[in-house]
């Protein structure tokens, strides 16, 4: 995937499919085995990222849902919602430059990366809002202080866990899965 991204050769469809390959691989090797072992899997991004980002790039919303249909529906999906200015500020303070695809430069909305980011990510956020309703994602105000967000998150997670048996898997209850 890095190969394609570097050459900026990707079209919206190949971009989407290559991320789907990575996801399907994570599903097989990182997500399903721990779930079957009774563990908790924390997935940093899930299919909804693709539903928002790839549709903002122009692929058909039904098509990308089909591509990801082998995925399991999560028990809980937390959506950290943040206004565009804050996310831009956070990204620019952390590093010097916005990434080409993150700024949606491939979509050709603007030649200026910051402006392109603003336009592209606004589209993405708009779609995320629709997805929140469609899939019952739980929005979290990500502009709040981190400890306050964490409180909300823990409460939601606790509700879902209910009487989850902590003794399973010899105390090793959690794994995380992230896109590569």
């Amino acid at each position: 995937m890095q190969r394609g991204k570097k050459k900026n050769l990707l079209t919206p469809t190949t971009f989407s499919l290559l991320h789907a390959v990575d996801f399907a691989d994570r599903l097989t090797y990182q997500i399903l085995p721990p779930l079957k072992a009774g563990m908790i899997v924390l997935a940093d991004r899930y299919v909804y990222t693709a539903f928002a980002r790839d549709v903002a790039r122009g692929v058909h919303p039904d098509w990308v849902r089909s591509v990801y249909s082998p995925a399991l529906r999560p028990d809980l999906t937390l959506y950290f919602r943040v206004p565009i200015d804050i996310s831009l500020e956070r990204l620019l303070s952390g590093r010097a430059k916005l990434k080409y695809h993150e700024a949606g430069m491939d979509v050709g909305l603007s030649a200026d990366p910051v402006e392109s980011f603003r336009m592209f990510q606004s589209r993405v956020l708009e779609i995320y809002d629709q997805l929140t309703t469609e899939f019952g994602m739980r929005p979290i105000d990500a502009s709040a202080e981190i400890p306050d967000q964490q409180k909300v998150v823990r409460k939601m997670v606790q509700e879902i866990l209910g009487d989850y048996d902590l003794k399973r898997a010899n105390g090793k209850n959690g794994v995380t899965s992230q896109p590569r």
Binding site: L9, H60, W63
Partner: protein, 249 residues
């Protein structure tokens, strides 16, 4: 089919919504058939003939995209793939060729000869146990070919041809399916299943089936006959409308 205008192409599913489907005066001809049936030999003979007839010809082949061919070979070598990741890589390779090779060539009025098309993915996935509906939805971005020629062969006739050729390889023998430890037995079983599936697809999608057991020149004659028939049916209109299809490369 013969009465259809050649530029009336349709997407197989949702297509590529961000691509404005311009007029596509070219012709998309897919050559399908199982491993070792002789597709590439036939395509090599087809190209000069079509060029002499005055057509510009462009070839495209399964897993030949600059974007993915290396990745797919590396992944195959690593044996990490599942039927799902396999299918998605094939789909990505296909989409890349569709957008960068097939559509531009069709727009320019070329005859595009595709060595394998989405039906190969349908057949293989079904043999490997993937959900057939899922495979078809993933390939919804494809363009429906104007003509699909299916090189049909039975497994008994295929076997000597493959052995005399480049030999039975791991993948073509379906060793990844663990049907047995014997290469020959696995090849025979895997290829029979594939051929059954291709034949089912042939009737479902209306392929033109040609007998691939014929000697190479006779088979070429058959293929040319069907292509000429298709072209004379569809070209009455498009050739007059568009000089491009008569332009040499």
């Amino acid at each position: 089919m013969a009465s259809r205008h050649s530029h009336d192409k349709t997407w197989y599913g949702h297509g590529l919504p961000y691509v404005t489907k311009k007029r596509l005066p070219g012709h998309l001809i897919a050559i399908e058939g199982t491993d070792g049936v002789g597709r590439s030999a036939q395509i090599d003979l087809l190209r000069p003939w079509l060029e002499l007839e005055g057509y510009a010809v462009s070839n495209t082949g399964w897993t030949r995209s600059p974007l993915l061919s290396e990745t797919i070979n590396e992944a195959k070598a690593g044996h990490q793939l599942t039927v799902t990741t396999f299918s998605l890589l094939y789909a990505a390779d296909f989409a890349d060729r569709l957008e960068h090779e097939i559509l531009p060539a069709l727009q320019a009025g070329f005859i595009v000869i595709a060595d394998r098309y989405m039906y190969t993915a349908f057949a293989r996935n079904s043999v490997m146990g993937a959900d057939p509906d899922w495979t078809r939805e993933v390939f919804g971005m494809a363009l429906v070919p104007d003509l699909v020629l299916y090189l049909d062969i039975d497994v008994e006739s295929l076997i000597p041809r493959v052995i005399m050729g480049k030999g039975m390889d791991y993948w073509e023998s379906g060793m990844h399916l663990a049907l047995g430890t014997d290469l020959f037995d696995s090849f025979e079983r895997y290829q029979s299943r594939l051929i059954d599936e291709y034949r089912r697809l042939s009737s479902e999608f209306g392929f033109i089936s040609v007998d691939a057991r014929l000697p190479i020149e006779d088979l070429q004659g058959e293929i040319r006959k069907h292509i000429a028939e298709y072209l004379s049916g569809s070209n009455g209109k498009s050739r007059d409308n568009n000089g491009a299809s008569g332009t040499k490369e």
